[in-house]
């Protein structure tokens, strides 16, 4: 019986790979968008304007304080009531980007705050304008603190992308769910799904760890 299920499962592996591709596409697009948005928000968060900083802080709190599944329901079910009708895929990307950009914002803000104040002053004294100070002096140093947790956020986002299956995006988890209805071998099906996630996430976790070690060693050497 189990052998029969296993052979059927092997037959539908292309189906799983399609799901994996969808997971990669959804998280890839959200990754690019949320990195861009997160960096902008993070830089504004450390800026001089109190009001802007506070409002971004509130945004971050709301994103961090509510479960992603509730956020995605809000995007998918409530935005249409307010006149923004989205398909499942754009809704998923919007929700993932909104949440991850909040997390990345905090990572970036933390990295910028970790750069000593003297660096800003030195850059200003060299006659660089605000944008040049940030681009040429502050961010290159902040990247050392930002990079490892940033990769960690990407891993979290790829894992959270499994939740968009609830609004019907046919990504990896959704494929597993559809399969288990037909092949009642829950352990086998979701082990396969888990292995496919592992293949993407584990190297990224290792990358984050090695970045952390390499970058902190470098700072010791200086």
């Amino acid at each position: 019986m189990i052998a029969e299920y296993a052979s059927r499962l092997i037959q539908i592996i292309p189906f799983f790979l399609k799901g994996l591709l969808m997971t990669v596409v959804v998280s890839g697009i959200s990754l690019v968008l949320s990195t861009a948005l997160g960096f902008i928000l993070g830089i504004l968060r450390t800026g001089r304007s109190r009001l802007v900083s506070r409002s971004i802080g509130l945004y971050v709190d709301v994103m961090r304080g509510t479960p992603f599944v509730v956020q995605i329901f809000i995007v998918f079910f409530i935005l249409p009531e307010w006149g923004l009708q989205l398909d499942a895929l754009p809704a998923a990307i919007l929700a993932l980007t909104a949440m991850t950009s909040a997390f990345i914002c905090e990572v970036v803000a933390g990295g910028i705050r970790a750069v000593p104040k003297g660096q800003w002053e030195a850059a200003a004294a060299s006659g660089l304008n605000k944008f040049q100070q940030l681009k040429l002096v502050i961010l290159p140093q902040a990247m050392r603190t930002i990079l490892p947790p940033l990769v960690g956020q990407y891993v979290l986002m790829i894992k959270d992308s499994s939740v968009v299956s609830v609004i019907g995006v046919t990504e990896l988890t959704r494929v597993g769910w559809q399969t288990v209805v037909r092949i009642p071998e829950g352990l086998m099906v979701f082990t396969l799904v888990g292995v496919l996630y592992f293949v993407i996430c584990y190297p990224l976790i290792r990358l984050s760890n090695s970045l952390e070690q390499r970058l902190s060693q470098e700072s010791v050497r200086l």
């Binding site: 509730v70 329901f73 809000i74 992308s161 499994s162 996630y197």
Partner: protein, 222 residues
């Protein structure tokens, strides 16, 4: 959009929301306590001298950290019945949450223990302190400062993660929002109320984490 918001329905469903809030709180608390136990045991194995135990602990921790919680929940939800085990949804969910958070807590505890430098332990040994005295007076006071703040962070994550149990029809807070959506088709009233209630929990736990950070890190640094 606010003018359409039907507070009367929210009020009518308030007992349901309160019950959901209570269930979310209880589920998170029970899972957290169990996860602490799992995490400490896993961390003990991870730091053990025996290769087999260490390997098992690493396999457990890394496989949990590299796969989404939702896949783990489905793994148990669809997988346990194929093993002939009939476990109710609530218990299935708590098992998944426990094992998931346990892996993260194991890493938090490990970071705490390894943060105590070996010189401290050697100093303790050469002062003639026994193993328990060293634990009580040297290792734990320092390790707790590094461990408790991220543990409270994990508690916040756990509350949010418990929202995923709504997908296997456990009657917790997010499920109340789904109920309101399916019975009255009022997703805005349902999910915004749910989001606000989650934010309430978040704003209770967040200052606690900040307070612990100040209090304990200070103690570590004196």
């Amino acid at each position: 959009m606010i003018t359409n918001f039907n507070f009367r329905v929210v009020w009518e469903y308030m007992p349901l929301f309160m019950q959901g809030l209570r269930n979310t709180f209880l589920i998170s608390l029970v899972s957290l306590i169990l996860a602490l136990a799992v995490g400490i045991i896993a961390c003990g194995c991870r730091l053990s001298r025996w290769k087999l135990l260490r390997g098992l602990a690493i396999a457990y921790i890394e496989s949990i950290r590299s796969t989404p919680l939702l896949v783990q929940i489905y793994f148990f939800y669809f997988g346990l019945p194929t093993l002939g085990l009939r476990v109710p949804e609530l218990e299935t969910g708590i098992i998944a949450l426990m094992l998931n958070s346990g892996a993260y807590i194991a890493e938090i505890v490990r970071a705490g223990i390894t943060s105590v430098s070996s010189g401290q332990i050697e100093a303790g040994i050469s002062s003639g302190l026994s193993y328990f005295q060293r634990m009580r007076f040297i290792i734990l006071p320092q390790a707790l400062g590094v461990t408790v703040p991220p543990l409270l962070g994990q508690a916040i994550v756990l509350v949010k993660d418990s929202a995923l149990l709504s997908l296997i029809s456990v009657m917790e807070l997010t499920r109340c929002g789904q109920e309101l959506t399916s019975e009255r088709f009022m997703p805005a009233e349902g999910f915004l109320t749910v989001a606000v209630l989650y934010l309430c929990i978040y704003y209770c736990l967040k200052p606690l984490a900040g307070w612990a950070q100040k209090k304990l890190i200070f103690r570590e640094a004196y």
